[in-house]
Symmetry: C3
Subunit: 335 residues, 3 copies
């Protein structure tokens, strides 16, 4: 049996996703267990983290295991990912050795590796986590690269807690302003999971330049077909919000401007009004609001929305703990 | 019942402090337990730490729990603490979300947040830890802000180990030279706990500019009244040391010079002779010496004093472990 | 009984080394235990680490203990190591206090402290770890200073796994090129352990300037005499490789050029051909290849060698976990 990783929810069937969510809900009711007794997980952070690190570290502890937190290039050696290169640059070690050695030490390897943000054609290859998956002999978990599948599960669980079955719910993924261009990982992920759960999904963004990568648009359309939902793009705020059950907000940089962000700045600056506020939420069908966090208040969403009963962002953040325990336990059980 | 935090010993009665010290002494005799079994504590360090981090992390382990070490702004996101602001600066996340999410993950939140040292009128508000206490739904522990209550308990326990009852003991808190201006947290704390234990306390410092904030002077005077001790200020080294049972040293910057430390430098430089040395200790009543550590040898105290049997700084440092276990166990038991 | 540390394998008899290796092999077969139940080890990293930190942290976990990772000068205070100095520089704390306080908290102290690389006559004193051993009241473990004894044990175990008894095996320690001058710790250690295991050891290096410090050359010669092996120096690649059972590669800076590395650069650059490649390995007696990692591929060894069955570097890295558990358990049992 080939080694199973958790790199993207697209590698998992709807039934498998539902099973992970059911396991996560069970962990939420009963947090302790021995599913990772004596086991360990390496958490490799190429980028900073608060929630992800805390929830994985605690999740391992709750199940009898232990997490090792590593920050390559900061408190560990910089790593080379390209094959067959003469390593005369900064990197002191090749991913082949890193992944093989870690596989001897730990039972799971989790990786956060954000895009470099210079060239989307490079970033979209997701080379770092793919190299880990290629060289590791233990399961690899995506802690956010160009998608964020753990966030997807946490989001889906929070929505199911509010709505039960999600099929046919009206879901809006809205772009919001942020002073810096951000990566598209959570936006891609929102598309994937919302369509997978059979919702009617609208991607709301300022201009066609903000539409997501064709890979994720195609996955979304495929998921919608297979799960009885739909996917469309809108640039009309009022139309998108009207009657929505779910508003999910995220900021991201427009892909055509990758690597020359100063040219995108005026466009973003002109769309600060995409902020999620009470007036927009009033257009929804008593809809809920969420965001993956961290969130800049009064930039992406107003204080009033964040502090309203409609906001389920804290539930979603809590669910990271539960779904990641389900993912770790599931991978180890298969392993 | 409102949530109980451990922000300052002033929120705790003398009887409650005595109970914490008794519990700490019990943990010193018998270090292992299950008081934190399956529980977790987040340790947020906005400033570096060696002893505090080690002792909290070990304390949780000894009692069956797990500590998560976070360094916001370094390996986690920078945090906004002001309410109702448009977050278009550096901070990516608001304390409201940080505290709420952490409260979902962990059972205790401990915070180290030193003063910014630009404006004492700002620092004295202690905004960071108060914001955590306001937004968290689990107990918050002060790991040093503008006071250092865990150090207070460790100090008191070390003194009780030498003297038994502390009532009526002559206690000198002496300012010492240090090449940089330091914050007043431990000095404030020494005043609070020494007066709370009913000792006759002398604050020895070079000039009236080095007297501590009126809030802590007032708390000290109130504690002295309530516990049968006294509090006075002296600028006379010989008079202060004569007959002392306890000499506690600390350096701090003079409050009137906050934010313009170059103006204070000549005054500090002129008082290098406040160093604790054998000649001064010879004036005491076979007194003990302590310091919170880290201590610059031969700047704050001589090698001879540090290596003498009178020095109980290592005992005090050890006691951090025991008192913090008492604080954590006590907060969880109440919670 | 005086406190026993693990600072260098030269402090351990051949029988003691063999016992540690046997214990490590037992841990490899059966990884879990309670030898460190409730115990803790402080891991002090003055320099970065991936393997060492992960393997020590996991080793403690596997045996019921807990590792505390500290990085002095980064997330802890800078430390003064010289005795009797007026501490008016950068250091906020003296090793006397650091070691004494840590000894109150933890059961073992492990230290990584690389040479400063300015003056070998200073570095060869190994002052940092010696100061820890002097002031600590618990056993101190060397995680790499000017030798790397844990790597030695891991290396010896990997070789024994391939060869059984190592006596009389032909062992080549070959210098290799690296764009930066590196320290001699692992090279010194390879000499120590290879001679201690009774092998016929050749130190292969470009010029006499690359011969290792006389202390380690003398220890090697003494070990060879006592254990039935030999030690010689060669500058002839073909002669050294011919018939070898083991090729161990490492780069290091030539000691006479310490602190003026720009003068050594042309010499190193002229010896890039010391890279371990298939042609050289073909000269051996079906020999194995190893390296301590991290290794720059196609600089120190080619992809072909690294990915060949002859390469046991990953086994050696794995063995770090097992031998360190043996060292920790052994020191605690003696303690």
């Amino acid at each position: 049996m080939p080694l199973r990783h958790f790199l993207t929810t697209q590698d998992y069937s709807r039934a498998e996703i539902d099973a992970l969510l059911a396991q996560a809900a069970a962990f939420k009711r009963s947090p302790r267990g021995q599913q990772l007794a004596g086991k360990s997980v390496a958490l490799l952070f190429f980028n900073p983290s608060m929630r992800t690190r805390t929830s994985f570290e605690l999740g391992a502890f709750h199940l009898g295991g232990h997490a090792i937190v590593l920050s390559p290039g900061k408190d560990a050696w910089p790593i080379e990912f390209r094959p067959n290169v003469v390593m005369d640059g900064e990197a002191e070690e090749h991913i082949a050795e890193v992944a093989r050695v870690l596989s001897r030490y730990v039972d799971l390897i989790a990786v956060r590796a954000f895009p470099k943000f210079q060239d989307w054609s490079v970033d979209r290859e997701d080379a770092v986590i793919k190299a880990f998956a290629q060289h590791a002999s233990v399961p690899v978990i995506n802690m956010e690269t160009i998608t964020h599948p753990c966030q997807e599960l946490a989001h889906a669980l929070a929505l199911k807690e509010r709505f039960g079955d999600l099929g046919g719910r009206k879901y809006v993924l809205t772009w919001t302003y942020h002073p810096k261009p951000l990566n598209t990982a959570v936006a891609n992920s929102a598309l994937l999971i919302a369509t997978k759960m059979g919702m009617d999904v609208t991607l709301l963004c300022p201009t066609p330049d903000y539409v997501l990568d064709e890979r994720y648009m195609a996955f979304g359309a495929q998921n919608a077909r297979e799960n009885g939902g739909s996917l469309k793009v809108s640039h009309d705020i009022e139309d998108a919000y009207r009657g929505a059950d779910v508003v999910y907000a995220k900021s991201w940089g427009a892909l055509p401007f990758f690597g020359r962000w100063e040219a995108e700045q005026p466009i973003r600056d002109a769309h600060r009004h995409f902020i999620v506020d009470e007036a927009k939420m009033a257009l929804t069908n008593h809809g809920v609001f969420s965001h993956c966090l961290p969130l800049r208040r009064n930039i992406k969403a107003t204080d009033a929305v964040m502090d309203s009963p409609a906001c389920i962002a804290i539930d979603e953040a809590e669910n990271r703990l539960h779904v990641q325990k389900a993912v770790m336990a599931s991978l180890l059980a298969q392993h």
